[in-house]
Amino acid sequence: MTSDGLLFADPTGATPDEWDEVASEASVDENALYLELDGWEGPLDLLLDLARRQKVDLRSISILALVDQYLDYIDRAGALKLELAADYLVMAAWLAYLKSAMLLPKEEQEDPSPEELALKLQLRLQRLGAMRDAAARLMGGDRIGRDVFLRGSPEGLEIARKNLWQCDQFALIEAYGRVKARTAPAIHMVRERPVMTLESALDRVSNMLGVTLEWMELRDFLPPHAEPRLKRSALASSFVAALELARLGKAELQQEDTFGPLHLRRVPA
């Protein structure tokens, strides 16, 4: 409902426990009221405190009386020109609505009924009240650093890990064999193989292109009966030759799709 806490307290620094005095009818020093942004929070908080001041069990509290008190409180606060948080006013409006609904004849009531709303409000107040009590009891327990103390300077426990390395004779000798084998001089032999040089490919492709203006597939430029290894070399060289001719503006290249056949044709001079 609200993101900022609000504290109604007197300027002498009253703690939340002194809230009763601040807000109760008898001891209100109206000029002393002011807002502070910590500690106290939303309207449910305020309602709960108002309810508690009735000194009755939350289960038998009169929602109507509670609503009156809240509205009265907001009235007075308004009169003091306090800058009330919007949520306080939203709650006030809601409670005013609830009050009027509860006073209306039953048959004119809407759904959800004011009784339902009032009962739910009461249940919420009970739950908040229970948690507030629980928090107080929790804080009253034996807290470390306040009621009980831990050892000032513990030595600490330490586990020193020691490695016990394992290896056997075979692994050692095998490792040496591996090193020796790996570093023994290796002999590399490159055998002669049939290749088509870039120059010859360039001559061949440009000559063949000169014959026609049609698109031709790159493979048509390869020597027809070459052995497979020469064919691979010729393909590579012819491809580079085609790129070179395209660069020189003598040919156009076209490929329909990725890895598809590559076509080229002469660009007329």
Binding site: M1, T2, S3, G5, P16, G39, W40, E41, G42, P43, L44, D45, R59, S60, S62, I63, L64, D87, M102, K106, Q109, D111, S113, P114, E115, E116, A118, L119, K120, Q122, L123, R124, Q126, R127, L128, A130, M131, R132, D133, A134, A135, A136, R137, L138, M139, G141, D142, R143, I144, G145, R146, D147, V148, F149, L150, R151, P154, G156, L157, I159
Partner: protein, 202 residues
Amino acid sequence: MDELARAVEAALFAAEEPMTAEALAAFLGDAPVGDVREALRSVAGDYEKRGIHLVERGKRWHFETAPDLAHLLRREKEQVRRLSRAATEVLAIIAYHEPVSRAEIESIRGVQTSGGTLDVLMEAGWVKIAGRREVPGRPTIYATTPEFLEHFGLSSRRDLPGIAELRATGLLDPIDEAYDELVGADEGEAEATVESDSGDHA
């Protein structure tokens, strides 16, 4: 005094953090956990009337000074963090309802909870993220930690002040459930508390 009890005593005394019986057993060269537990209870008994106590908090054991000596030790050692009222309430709500989402905390408190409040509690090590609730939006849910139990001197969550009564009286149930039960169970009583009659409760 048997050797295991002496070892358990010395280890916990020297330890920088509270330890579970299992961790102690592992540390002491895989002693049987049952024997360690027995030793812990016997040592705790020895210290019952002394100025130091051996206590169990959330399954972890540690030594601490006797609570009744607080007045002697407190002067120099006041080191406890003062919690704002908002943080106190949020902590209580998490402890009594865990695991709980921020929206659920807010619905109980009736105000938005600033992220800073949860941060303070997590920084103190008392609250941790305990996953997400499997409902639309998958909200983060929060729960308390073993350090929370340690700090507030609780053996387990069952030791939270008044938790049994709160549970028995339904004060930890969601409002809608409590409302349905109240209305469904006893119409007469529900009417009495809200001053007027209505048959419209759905």
